[in-house]
């Protein structure tokens, strides 16, 4: 049908089918700002304005737009003329990964059109249909308030440093090639000191203007669309699979099953080689091990044809007994997930144990025997999901040199290349992996979910192929944050001294164990060392079940470990009749003490893979140089008004009434991954205009790492961060990176960039020294110029031209790398105030206070944004997120309606305090978003316990669980003694 589309002020005549959705038509027409995040109108990423009103274009037929005006973010403003909302979004640090940004901007725009002076509540309501997984929404609200003020003609103080206009600055070759000049002191723009400054995110403009920044934002001639056939059984053997009819369907170019590809044991976990986890996966296999497991994949002219072809594939399954509970999976006679002899690296396939971690020091049993009090508790964490707004997607194609290009939303580009090479049989030289901006990862994009199949389809068809997950696929067939059962046993003296501590963890690894080893180590490593005591035991088993596999996750297990440990500490305090903070202060880690486990981790972190997992960088005992816990706790205690509030809670005189309030505090510490090798590299080169290209392979997923790296390079090189042009990860051009956890990666990359910048600076100075005929040591570099003591100066542009084209041509560039781990932990204290409705169990979080001590803060606006995002995720996990299955292992929570994540309306007030370690190393820079999520859950559980006097040991804290716990307590109280 013909559709006359009035879009962003132009009229387009399009041919669309009646059943085409507006979302698909807009993206096909190149309006890439309109994003696909779900399929139900739940997420708001696809929001457009229809006659000025926001509407999800995924639940609207394209034909319905006939006669209406459509507005997308492309029509809102451009690089040269940003709309005030686009300005304030950047200024307030409200753009993280940027995937939700276009939809968010449009909803905000529509609000301000009809209400120039909205209240905070009205803004939250207006943004409620747009989910964001990265920010904590409060910055978005602030940005909208500020844009409203601007539009009303009011002045506002910028939050971040205003744009210098550097991106569009003109360049005059004539002027640039002039002789050295005398510095007059005028006309030279002063460069601010960038480190520690709230620079604007260097890559935010493309996001607020809706430029094609993400993996799926491109089109290729002849592109085929792939869809995946997944298993309806939790455990089965594929007896027969017939693809004849599917292949015969017009428009179908390839159907692949296990019969069509080599059977190579591997792991989807994008970790350094050799990956420590089990190699128990096959791109396609004759056995399926969970509902949603891969069965076949189809490439066709359209996604719709591919979808139809899936229905024509005939599969004869022989169902096998399945097991979903890790405790049952361990029992003798339980169904075995991986009896196949080809898989390797499994800790104990006969008992379904994917991996096993054990750390021990002292004599735990003897200490328990001599303890005056023993407190035990079991804590349960649900299976949940990263739920980044951008789904997994890859596009693969042959380039003009017959090399396979993999364009993917991945946080581990070099691992993608290595693993795709292994699975396709292509040598790495024939593969190029490009990782554009990641639309949110949180660990979920540390696994290869679509890349191998997409590549195999390009091999099979010689055509470009796109494999994009739907939201349902995401829930059913990607990676999960595993459920864990954590048992704690603590032996104490009456005065509250912990003399022995034991944590036993059972991780539900799901069907494949790739990330199981690191998950198992993380829960203990990132919690137990908070309270070192002579007798410690940590033992974790990751157990196979017929559920989706565990993936990596933000905070690397700390969330789980700390929920257990920090809830348990409050329980111990209650049993001792002691103040929970006093108990913590008595037992916590102190400066100068050795970090427990780190030296032993090496000895006992066993992986059956030769050479893997053993390379703990902590070969010697590590003593803690600086501990931020006391200051963090003090700040949170004060800001939460703990003493006063606590007296009003259950621990004080019991509250009556329907609504009861409470406060809770928990501590956290985070150690960068200790069990993986680490290497990060950076290349910097000078351009003729005094700008620099920075080539790194650390993907930008919205945590602001690229801005931080640009700030560091800019600082060393005397330019503005926007003159550091970052090349996105591309294995053909950007240097190697092991892409470890975000903290370790950023730390290593910071040092690689700093070193490269220092080398480039030396090169610049020596060229200038030659030109100015003075010793290099006498020169200074600042504000785009190199100045000699007498007042003679050269601009960077002049130096560049002379270096590249002058007498002794020489490139100004350097590559540098870094492989030493950061061994200073990050510390945090978090406090929560809640209000619980005792008749419904509904919980409202009133306030969250976080104090974080995490190394040097390069950019406070970005840092606070990361922390607020961590808090939002932490609350969302603690209160509403849980993946639920039926008895057959079918997932019930398959969309963002049933799997609920926080929206703007759910988010409470936050207060964030940043501390910067002992300040001894200005380049001790880490991803503090990791720890921000970690202690939210126990602080919340402690607050609920304070409000109600009941302890919940299972997340999420749903209303019915709270009410049930209350009921049980009341029953017990009513029972005659």
């Amino acid at each position: 049908m013909e559709l006359e589309l009035r879009i962003n002020g132009v009229i387009k005549s399009l041919d669309v089918a009646p059943n085409e959705l507006l979302l698909n038509v807009l993206r096909r027409e190149g309006y890439y700002s309109v994003k696909h995040g779900c399929d139900h109108g739940h997420c708001g990423a696809c929001t457009v304005l229809i006659d000025g009103l926001p509407r999800p274009s995924c639940v609207m037929l394209a034909m319905q737009a006939a006669g209406a005006t459509v507005t997308t973010v492309e029509g809102l403003g451009s690089l040269h003329r940003l709309h005030p909302l686009q300005e304030t979004f950047i200024d307030a640090g409200a753009v993280h990964c940027g995937f939700c940004t276009p939809g968010m901007l449009l909803s905000a725009y529509a609000l301000l059109q009809r209400n120039p002076n909205p209240s905070e509540e009205e803004i939250r309501e207006a943004l409620a249909g747009n989910l964001c997984r990265c920010t904590g929404y409060n910055r978005l609200v602030q940005a909208v308030q500020r844009a409203a003020a601007l539009l009303r003609g009011e002045d506002i103080e910028p939050i971040s440093i205003p744009d210098s206009g550097g991106r569009t600055r003109s360049w005059d070759l004539g002027r640039a090639s002039l002789e050295p000049y005398e510095q007059t002191g005028t006309g030279v723009q002063r460069v601010q000191v960038m480190m520690g400054q709230p620079e604007r995110q260097i890559d935010a403009i493309k996001l607020v203007t809706g430029k094609p920044a993400f993996a799926d934002d491109c089109d290729l001639p002849g592109l085929l669309h792939a869809r995946l056939l997944t298993s309806p059984h939790a455990h089965a053997i594929i007896r027969e699979i017939d693809t004849t009819e599917a292949r015969a369907l017009p428009g179908v170019h390839a159907v692949l099953t296990y019969k069509d590809i080599p059977r190579i044991p591997s792991t989807s976990a994008g970790q350094p080689w050799p990956e420590p986890g089990p190699h128990d996966q096959y791109s396609l296999d004759h056995t399926v091990r969970y509902v949603g497991d891969r069965v076949a994949v189809v490439a066709a002219e359209t996604a719709d044809i591919a979808e139809q072809a899936l229905k024509l594939i005939k599969v004869d399954y022989e169902p096998l007994p399945a097991v979903f509970d890790p405790r049952q999976a361990l029992e003798p006679g339980a169904p075995r997930l991986h009896p196949e002899p080809e898989s390797y690296g499994i800790y104990d396939a006969n008992r379904n144990i994917a991996s096993h971690v054990h750390f021990e020091q002292g004599d735990v049993e003897r200490a328990f025997a001599s303890a005056e009090l023993i407190v035990e508790g079991e804590y349960v964490l649900p299976q949940s999901q990263h739920a980044a707004l951008e789904n997994h997607v890859a596009i693969t194609y042959w380039d003009e040199d017959d090399r396979l290009v993999v364009r993917t939303s991945s946080e581990v580009p070099y691992h993608v290349r290595r693993i795709v090479a292994a699975l396709t049989g292509l040598a790495p030289r024939r593969i190029r992996v490009i990782a554009p901006r990641v639309g949110g990862g949180f660990g979920g994009k540390h696994d290869l979910i679509v890349e191998d199949l997409c590549a195999l389809l390009t091999l099979a068809t010689d055509r470009p192929v796109r494999l994009e997950y739907s939201r349902v696929d995401e829930f059913r067939s990607s990676r999960v944050v595993p459920s864990q059962i954590i048992r704690l046993k603590t032996g104490l003296r009456r005065d509250g001294t912990i003399i022995a501590n034991q944590m036993l963890v059972l991780v539900n690894a799901g069907a494949y164990g790739g990330q199981a080893a690191s998950v198992s180590a993380g829960s203990g490593l990132n919690s137990l060392p908070l309270y070192p005591c002579p007798n410690l035991r940590y033992s974790a088993q990751a157990v196979y079940t017929n559920l989706p596999p565990a993936g990596a996750f933000r905070s690397n297990g700390a969330l789980a470990g700390l929920f257990a440990l920090e809830s348990h500490m409050d329980e111990i305090a209650r049993r001792l009749g002691m103040d929970p903070l006093a108990l913590r202060r008595k037992n916590w880690l102190k400066e100068g003490e050795p970090l427990p486990f780190l030296s032993q981790a090496q000895a006992r972190y066993e992986s059956p893979i030769p050479q893997a997992g053993l390379a703990s960088p902590y070969s010697a005992e590590v003593r803690l140089a600086h501990c931020g816990l006391p200051r963090c706790l003090q700040v949170v205690e004060e800001q939460l008004n703990w003493r006063e509030k606590r007296r009003q809670g259950q621990s004080g005189p019991a509250q009556s009434g329907r609504i009861q309030r409470g406060v809770g505090i928990a501590l956290a510490m985070h150690l960068p991954t200790s069990a993986q090798s680490l290497l990060s590299s950076a290349t910097l080169k000078l351009n003729e205009d005094g700008s620099f290209n920075l080539l790194i392979s650390l993907p930008e997923n919205g945590n602001g790492s690229h801005t931080i790296l640009a700030q560091i390079a800019a600082e060393v090189l005397g330019v503005r961060p926007e003159d550091i042009l970052i090349h996105l990860p591309d294995t053909d051009s950007t240097p190697f990176d092991t892409s470890s956890d975000p903290s370790s990666s950023l730390y290593a990359c910071v040092h690689a960039v700093r070193q490269a910048a220092e080398q480039v600076r030396q090169q610049l100075l020596s060229v200038a020294a030659r030109l100015l005929k003075v010793p290099a040591e006498s020169l200074s570099l600042a504000d785009y110029q190199i100045s000699a003591p007498g007042g003679k100066s050269l601009s960077l542009s002049q130096v560049a031209l002379q270096a590249l084209y002058g007498e002794q041509p020489t490139p100004i560039s350097a590559t540098s790398s870094w492989n030493a781990a950061c061994n200073a932990p990050t510390f945090a204290a978090q406090g929560v105030e809640v209000e619980v409705d005792t008749a419904t169990g509904a919980t409202r979080v009133l306030k969250v206070v976080s104090a974080i001590d995490g190394g040097h803060i390069v950019n406070p606006v970005l840092a606070e944004g990361q922390i607020e995002g961590g808090i939002a995720q932490g609350l969302s996990y603690s209160l509403c997120e849980e993946m639920v299955y039926d008895q057959q292992g079918n997932l019930l929570t398959t969309d963002l309606n049933d799997y609920r994540i926080f929206s703007a309306r759910d988010m409470p007030e936050t207060s964030i305090v940043l501390m910067e370690g002992d300040g001894s190393d200005p380049f001790d820079i880490r991803d503090i978003g990791e720890i921000a999520i970690a202690a939210v859950a126990p602080a919340l559980a402690n607050a609920v316990a304070d409000a109600l006097g009941v302890r919940l040991r299972q997340l999420p804290l749903t209303p019915e669980r709270i009410l049930h716990a209350l009921y049980v307590v009341r029953q017990q109280a009513a029972r005659p003694a």
Binding site: P18, P54, V59, S107, N130, T893, S903, L963
Partner: protein
């Protein structure tokens, strides 16, 4: 997934819409806000041969009081209900209901007619309409007929007594009597979510404070929207004191038919019906006697 193929027709008048429905019978589906229907089409849970888009029927977007009745056009959008001064002032229970549906993006387009015609027990309007004793106007080839709301929903989810060739065109609600009041309360896991349970209560009192009309509707605690008839019966003639309210709330809970699902276990939901009914009745009483 994209919807299966269908023929797309835009109706430019009610008559044309009905003619199309009459022509295609059960093969046709009405498209209003599309927020419920298009996801069904995308997941191939519905595959009509013809889609009749009624969004151009602006004459079905209205709210007006006449002859002691509030008339609401079936295509009235939630956002307009929520913003309407008339509704806020005279029918706060309706404003309560519109306000808690999803989020503003959904409410911009979702229609009250679609919300009822979809007959989803999780939707919020059915309970309110049951409490208010609304009447629905169905327009077909032979003219209009009035369907009392309690005869609109069948015993099955997602099913109504509308004929395939009928369009829901109007919702009629008795204008508020002197001492009347109602409230809709919804318990959610997260703001804007479908209800764990929702309760609509509406009462009319006589001069002596006795209940002359009581309506109670329940959301998402059964296969269909539920009218708590026995609870209503308990209230009628009473003075609506706390004891009677508590008794009616217990009765409403007994009339609920919840099942355990992602929004909670059945016994929890039943308990919540009791709690919410109690609260809704108290608020209705307060509104009926001049409070907020």
């Amino acid at each position: 997934m994209i919807p299966g193929p269908f023929d797309y027709q835009v109706a430019s008048s009610v008559a044309e819409a009905i003619a199309l429905l009459d022509q295609h019978g059960a093969d046709a589906k009405v498209l209003a806000g599309g927020h419920s229907l298009i996801p069904l089409l995308r997941f191939r849970l519905a595959s009509p041969a013809v889609l009749v888009d009624i969004n151009r029927l602006r004459d079905l977007e209205y709210m007006q009081e006449a002859d002691g009745t509030l008339h609401i056009g079936a295509l009235t959008r939630e956002v307009d209900l929520e913003a309407s001064d008339l509704i806020r002032r005279r029918y706060p229970i309706l404003a309560d209901t519109a306000r808690v549906i999803a989020d503003p993006v959904v409410r911009n387009w979702a229609t009250i007619g679609g919300n009822l015609a979809h007959a989803d027990p999780a939707n919020d309007h059915p309970a309110t309409m049951l409490a208010l004793g609304a009447q629905l106007v169905a327009t077909g080839p032979t003219g209009q007929r009035l369907i009392p709301i309690e005869q609109f929903f069948t015993d099955s989810s997602f099913e109504t007594t509308l004929q395939p060739n009928e369009l829901l065109t109007e919702i009629r609600i008795p204008a508020p009597a002197e001492r009347s009041g109602g409230a809709y309360l919804k318990l959610e896991r997260k703001v804007g979510d479908y209800a764990i349970a929702g309760v609509a209560a509406y009462v009319v009192l006589d001069g002596a404070g006795h209940v002359t009309y009581a309506g109670i509707g329940l959301t998402n605690v059964g296969p269909t929207p539920i009218k708590a008839r026995a609870a209503e019966q308990l209230l009628r003639g009473s003075t609506l004191d706390d004891a009677v309210i508590a008794q009616a709330a217990r009765q409403a809970a007994a009339e609920a038919q919840p099942v355990s699902d992602l929004r909670g276990p059945a016994d929890y939901k039943r308990a919540m019906v009791e709690t919410l009914t109690m609260r809704a009745l108290r608020q209705a009483r307060s509104r009926a006697t001049g409070g907020a």
